[in-house]
Symmetry: C2
Subunit: 263 residues, 2 copies
């Protein structure tokens, strides 16, 4: 049986939910054996030896910035991380904290409470694409990446979809705020619905000629929301540039993403 990357990821996530074996994935993706991959070494800058795991934590804590590709030595590590339990567990922690925060909120309750979701690697997962492209070891390729986005076939990140449902049940409205551009509005909306996100207050995309940085664009759009009378009660993304910059909203949440960096 030959599995496409997307069906493989969907299968893997379903399998992981029922605690299935990881060996098949390692074979299909020709990743290095799982034993010892946590100690895979990154050698760079000549100032000491660090492991891929420490590099990844450095990324998550916003210490390691401005990288264009993952360290070449970490392709196997990042692949195992993304396809294995750990990415899902790291995401679950974030979703649990976000849901607990939401449940404890004193909402305005007049329809003005919104939660801002990033799209890529937050609401939707492009793991099927990155699994075919070295998990971030290849430089970003806009042509191939756009072709994938235009398929509209990205699955939901399951933890984000659970959080989304929880927020809706609390009466919080959803604003999707993405670096995708206006010319991808239709396919993005279709993909979100197909992945299970059936309703939202706004889907904000970047103007096709908008040259602002991610922080400038996203914080500017959040400011617009506040100016329009919305109360941003939460803000979640996989990049620090999704959540930094004023206004941040009531609280921010950083989902894991060791595959790419957007400054």
């Amino acid at each position: 049986m030959k599995l496409s990357a997307i069906s493989l990821v969907l299968w893997w996530w379903a399998a992981a939910a029922s605690a299935s074996a990881p060996e098949a994935v390692a074979v299909v993706h020709q990743l290095r054996p799982a034993v010892g991959w946590g100690a895979q070494l990154v050698r760079e800058k000549g100032e000491g030896v660090i492991t891929c795991g420490s590099w990844r934590v450095g990324v998550e804590a916003n210490n390691v910035r401005g990288w264009r590709t993952i360290p070449a030595a970490c392709e196997g590590y990042v692949g195992h991380y993304m396809l294995g339990d750990r990415y899902r567990q790291d995401s679950i922690v974030v979703a649990i904290e976000a849901a607990a925060h939401a449940a404890a909120l004193r909402l305005a309750g007049n329809g003005s409470d919104v939660w801002v979701f990033d799209v890529d690697e937050t609401a939707l997962s492009n793991l099927p694409y990155y699994a075919r492209h070295g998990f971030g070891v290849e430089p970003f390729n806009p042509t191939l990446s756009n072709a994938w986005v235009n398929e509209g076939a990205a699955p939901a990140l399951p933890e984000s979809l659970n959080l989304y449902k929880k927020l809706l049940s609390l009466g919080i409205k959803i604003v999707f705020l993405t670096g995708r551009t206006e010319n991808q509005r239709d396919v993005t909306a279709r993909n979100l619905k197909r992945a299970g996100y059936h309703t939202w207050e706004k889907l904000v995309l970047k103007g096709d000629g908008d040259k602002r940085s991610a922080v400038s664009y996203k914080s500017g759009e959040r400011q617009k929301l506040e100016n329009e009378g919305y109360n941003i009660v939460g803000n979640i993304g996989d990049q620090w540039s999704d959540i930094l910059g004023q206004p941040e909203g009531n609280r921010t949440f950083k989902l894991p993403d060791p595959m790419y960096y957007i400054g």
Copy 2:
């Protein structure tokens, strides 16, 4: 041979540097066997199973906030993390990034460039104390903790000391900014010198009756530095409350700390 906790940690760090065996530490501290500890489970809030490793990354990425003690199930995990290679490697990544940032700075060069260091778990390590107190599983005990601080025997976090030396060589002055209070000024200065930090521009401690939050106190003191004409080119701490709040300085760095949380 009976080792005190402090000599044990110093021995362990020296031994780790020359890749020695971890078994002795596991015996002395009666930690769980290293095999499988990465998958130690945290069960909380009834919303899914997460591991101590994912909890720790959640702390580092500022997703998990406001906790009083580490999850009880994670004592063994955190102990292994702190005494093993991983804490050191995670710290090395931060120090490498900080040193690279410093080396690339365009300094004013007139003596106004300063780097802000937190003290506990940043310049100095209280690991010898926490190793005797469950690595954060016990609630904070101000009496015991102050008694330890007043010994003035905390070793340097080696990566921070290396960074400190590098910054001095670049002509950057050091400001220590700590939540320790004025009545611990003498012992703190003595401990810093004993650990290898021989010079600094300022050592800022909290007033004995100062009730401000950590963020409010530390950002307020950074503002004072800027008002005095200093140029804060870097800012490093183990707590998010060390580095958040305006002004942040040119760039912030978050060292790992899974043992305690200061909001």
